[in-house]
Subunit: 398 residues, 2 copies
């Protein structure tokens, strides 16, 4: 719990989603005044894909009623489109006067962003206009609002052999015309691997400009792949349960493995499984959001960038871990993405650790996910939704 | 003139604009098969701003009829919005099968992009969706089209003391975890000075991704500030005359000085005039476009970046040049932009020079502009439109 003078009013854009919902509950539980903006686009995409969460997520009205019963706290809800309804967005900001805006209101699946030209176009149009509308509205409101944005480790690309990825900025040296060297600190050069990741690299340029021109205080969280389902708050009542996606577009690699094991489906590894990725448990995601909100940049500071991950693993090692725990088979499939078969990944995450994050590691939490989520709700699975069907190549290779 | 086997079919997006129109005529005159797409947005913005070109530009129908009479050549015209009408764009690409698409279809004024929140939002929405639609449509068409995009020197920012700006890519050194150094070639780190410039830095990330993922062949032209009005082709008949903007939003610095001198209005220098900028004459712009089209990257090449400028000057030196030539006074006004008062600027432009560009320098062309354009059409000027009214600061400073 927080002290009365630490209480903030927090606007959560995308507060119905996989990260947004548990973050809203966590912040509300701490004693902050939370309100959510969401146009339910993620649920509508479930309709489009004819897929749904493995866990039985409840409508927003039921969720908020359950939270009120469990915690005694109110979370208010506004249903509108941040990327389209600028006037509504501005009006709510001016009326509510939030201290902090947490921005999750972006399409967040790389495979979905590559499904078709219209999926590419939706991702670009939605994500870029959403981020820009938030920044323009903060400036127009005249309020000193701290914007906390959920970015991705994927902005860095995965070609970083021999060098730890710094927290956002890279110190470089370049020769001058007279042959001397000058040292500069730059945004880590972007190397996006999908249209989705591309929009997050473009978001960084929105932040760079609005921070420089209008002194907007911004924290950008470069998050790894989230695993796990529930947090302390979403476990308090089954009506509060969080999403668990296992389909070929929205299911992230580890959660897919857990669910595949639970339904005795082979664990699907794309390519050699030598891809190294960064991971974080959903419980740590919400704690990191809390730490970012509690530690805003000062007026005049440049954009604050944190790497929000706790461990790295190769995909095939994750498959082996889940296989050893459950007896599931591992199946190697062709990789639909254009990416290196194998890569090293070293990441600095000192900032969150220095602020007191105590990570939940795979070694502790994985078995609980298998039994409490994947096995418990296995009867809800539609196995036909498991294969990844999006292809990065315009003409699929043989 | 070109040989029959060098003839290309060229689609010019934004072919009604200040650079697009003379480029279309230049390419048509060379013998290429040119067609234009434009939604006349620039003329509509004239209506909004209650401003118009100093020169009497004609409607597109009159322009194309005059060109037919003068040259015997047809240029076809499609009126639609590249950022909005994706299906139309795709249909035209598939039906016409262009070899080259030249992309000028972006809002190109920095002051206009900073006028209000809605002007910022229009610039972001229009420019980013236009560029992305073109790329998505090229990939969807399955055609091997060379995309030539008009970018800006402004993507680099203006803080480059001691170092010549390379053509797009910067060779850097960074330390590894073991203290060794690795050398990498990166996109020159972006430092945009307005929402308009920001969209051009975001365009670079579209190009990076679509070139990497789909092997789209792309040339990005980082252009300096254009001066001058006419080219050989637009001078062939007064009905072909090009735009000359002198208003506070669209008038670029040198053309504004020329017109101010012609109407005996003081030359307005913002700040100290110590800003150093890169310049190019409109005749060289169209020649550079020709050279870029004639020298496409090979399949598999990365994005080709040319610096499209021929000389650099400080703004106060330009004012003095025009003042010495015409007797006009110079007036120093507060700078509405957030930028350094003084900066050095050294730029490499070896690629175009190596391909045979013979620049038109200020020293040769300036007097002709004063007499043939600024003085000739001075009676059409609306002096109330000269002041710059856009302000980069949300709360204008005293």
């Amino acid at each position: 719990m927080i002290l009365a003078n630490e209480k903030k009013k927090i606007m959560v854009l995308g507060g119905d989603g996989f990260c947004g919902w548990p973050t809203s509950l966590h912040l509300s539980n701490l004693g902050h005044d939370v309100f959510i903006v969401d146009n339910l686009s993620r649920r509508n995409i479930d309709n489009e894909l004819e897929a749904e969460s493995l866990t039985p997520i409840q409508p927003m009205g039921t969720r908020l009623q359950a939270w009120k019963e469990v915690s005694g706290k109110d979370i208010r809800f506004y249903n509108f489109n941040v990327a389209r309804d600028y006037d509504h967005l501005l009006k709510v900001i001016v009326e509510e006067q939030p201290d902090t805006i947490v921005h999750f209101a972006e399409q967040r699946s790389a495979p979905y962003s590559m499904k078709s030209p219209n999926h590419k176009r939706y991702t670009v149009d939605n994500n870029l206009n959403a981020t820009h509308n938030v920044l323009a509205a903060i400036v127009q409101s005249g309020l000193d609002i701290h914007l906390v944005h959920l970015g991705t480790m994927g902005v860095y690309g995965y070609g970083t052999a021999g060098m730890s990825i710094p927290e956002g900025y890279l110190q470089i040296e370049v020769p001058t015309d007279t042959g001397e060297r000058i040292s500069k600190k730059i945004l880590y050069p972007a190397d996006p691997g999908s249209v989705y990741h591309m929009t997050k690299t473009q978001d960084q340029l929105f932040f760079l400009f609005y921070n420089k021109n209008d002194a907007v205080r911004i924290t950008d969280l470069h998050q790894g792949i989230v695993w796990g389902t529930n947090t302390k708050e979403t476990m308090a009542d089954e009506r509060l349960i969080n999403r668990f996606d296992y389909d070929g577009d929205y299911g992230t690699v580890l959660n897919r493995f857990l669910m595949q094991a639970a339904v005795h489906y082979p664990l699907t590894v794309h390519g050699t499984g030598g891809q190294t990725r960064a991971f974080i448990h959903i419980q740590d995601t919400v704690r990191c959001l809390q730490l970012a909100i509690e530690n805003p940049p000062e007026a005049g500071d440049k954009v604050q960038i944190f790497n929000q991950m706790t461990e790295t693993h190769r995909v095939r090692d994750l498959a082996k871990l889940v296989s050893d725990m459950t007896g599931a088979e591992v199946a190697y499939l062709p990789n639909p993405r254009k990416e290196a078969d194998e890569n090293e990944l070293h990441v600095k995450n000192d900032l969150f650790l220095s602020k007191g994050l105590k990570p939940t590691y795979l070694s502790e939490g994985l078995l609980m996910e298998v039994t409490q989520i994947a096995e418990r709700y296995a009867n809800r699975a539609d196995l036909s939704k498991i294969p990844a069907t999006s292809n990065w190549r315009s003409k699929p290779e043989a």
